[in-house]
Symmetry: C2
């Protein structure tokens, strides 16, 4: 009935980041920051966690002279997200018996 929810994804900000990356394939740090409304510090920490879990890939490049942190979802991340959504459904689908 109530399957456990991946704690890495059951977090408002990390879920938003994952959701965004699934839609966009690839996104830069400032864009994610703007879209999620997160502070840079918080976002940095959560991106690290997703990256450490292998759910996203982080590439640090340069855009001219400015640093540019690019994030991309990984197949493992996509799978985890799908499983999370599937598990979550058990909590949301109210079987009005």
């Amino acid at each position: 009935m109530f399957k456990p929810l991946d704690p890495l994804l059951h977090s408002e900000l990390r879920l938003a980041v994952m959701s965004l990356l699934i839609s966009t394939e690839e996104a830069e740090f400032p864009y994610i920051k703007e879209q999620t409304g997160a502070t840079a510090g918080n976002l940095s920490v959560q991106i690290d966690k997703l990256s450490a879990a292998g759910y996203i890939e982080v590439e640090k490049t340069f855009k001219g002279k400015k640093p540019c942190t690019l994030c991309r979802i990984t197949p493992a991340g996509l799978k985890a997200f799908e499983e999370y959504v599937e598990s979550l459904k058990g909590y949301l689908e109210v079987t009005s018996k």
Copy 2:
């Protein structure tokens, strides 16, 4: 895009409790404990929080000689749950553009 998620509901156990109560209208502590797989301590704390927020009603009665804690969802709780689900959709519906 990413609406804030009610932190009271964005918790695995509390969400399970709410989901259960919406389906059953009324449930006893041991039943909720069994269905959610939670420990009694954890469940007690989370029920208190939902109750303090006015999301559920807790009635302490007796069943013969044994204490019996009955939980029921409130209209405010139902509304909060529905809003939570609505907000959550923004995170789950991946607009594969």
